[in-house]
Amino acid sequence: MGDALAGWPPPVLDPAGPYAGSVTTLAWILFAMGVLVTLVVVAALWIALFGGERLRARVGGTKAIWMAGIAFPVVVLTGLLIYGLTLTGNLTAPLRGDEMRVRVTGEMWWWRVAYLGRDGQTLMLDANELHIPVGQPVVLELETSDVIHSFWVPRLSGKLDMIPGRTNIMRIQADEPGIFGGQCAEYCGGPHALMGFVVVAHAPQDFARLMATRRRPRPAPVGEAAAGARLFETAGCAACHRVAGTSANGMAGPDLSFVGSRRSLGAGILPNNRGTMTGWIGDSQAIKPGNRMPAYPVLNANELRALAAYMDTLR
């Protein structure tokens, strides 16, 4: 697997930032409490079955039932609830308002990514991969354009559903640069299991450099890639795919403006290189059955190679 896909499935209980951190701490505490209560219940059961007469009478007594059956759970669960809400307060605390904002829209079976400006205007479109600077919260506006999906990058935050007609707010933060895998966590039909996501966290200066590179106009493709660019228009790719700075502005499929720099292909499922790109364009249905891109058996070897070369230049 490519670097983006190493360690699949994405590791849980291995937080890389404060939001995943509080979720992980709470998970361990709930687990520990669960173990403790299970041990006490098993011990009580053992006494009830095999204990001496006096012990058995005490376990079955009114006082024991009031104490262990009612008072103990009420006190412990109330305490856990208060502690849990306090601990995970960072997930729901009011926003400062100056955070970096990104809208991530669930699609069957990929993710539309829009980097937003201060006033909510779209600055840049991308798909299936999100770049963030380390050490600061990034606010995600989670939406869906079809069915319910669930956004989950376990090392950066908890899960949050994407619900038709709603915008759900999630924060993520990475404390160190790295690549973090994600996965749709709500069954959304067909190839749901093949709906992965990649978050790449950069040092702030690297992040600024990346965004500046992306805003710069690209030189026109040359050689094989130029042939690929022409084919992209004539073969109909542009009906579904957008490439910034060209006449290709289809919005049905993933934005390909920066597809050459993506770590993965097919929404976080394959490494991205010319070979996998060739296989994806030629017959993505063999790779991700049911996805909405048809197979293109009409393309010959030269055309597939040219298209893959063009995709490689879109960085």
């Binding site: 697997m1 010319r274 070979g275 060739t278 296989g279 030629g282 017959d283 063999a286 790779i287 070897a301």
Partner: protein, 108 residues
């Protein structure tokens, strides 16, 4: 399957490791185009590579020998101009591992 000897001594790849080869194939995504036993996915753009040890030719052109196969998986267009298979991001050692893995792969 992993310990099955290559059916032909001429297909032995000295110093190569089929297990590492399978990892390399998964890492670069050979399965995007090929059906290879033990490798996901099962692409259909290129030919299936099942039972590759018994294949006479590579890409219908080249004799199926370990040194040629290792060269081919790394830089197919150099050996077979016009092929849809691009050069793949493999080191020479990895390409030899991949060749060993292909010879070891059964019929899936």
């Amino acid at each position: 399957m992993a310990c099955k000897p290559a059916p032909d001594a001429t297909q032995h790849v000295p110093g190569a490791d089929a297990a590492r080869g399978r990892e390399a194939m998964a890492r670069v995504g050979c399965g995007a185009c090929h059906d290879i036993p033990g490798v996901w996915p099962k692409g259909r753009v290129g030919p299936p590579l099942t039972g590759f040890a018994h294949r006479s030719l590579i890409a219908g052109r080249l004799p199926n020998r370990p040194d040629i196969l290792a060269d081919f998986v790394r830089d197919a267009p150099r050996l077979v101009p016009g092929t849809a298979m691009p050069a793949m991001p493999l080191t020479e050692a990895e390409a030899r591992d991949v060749a060993a893995a292909l010879y070891e792969a059964g019929n899936g």
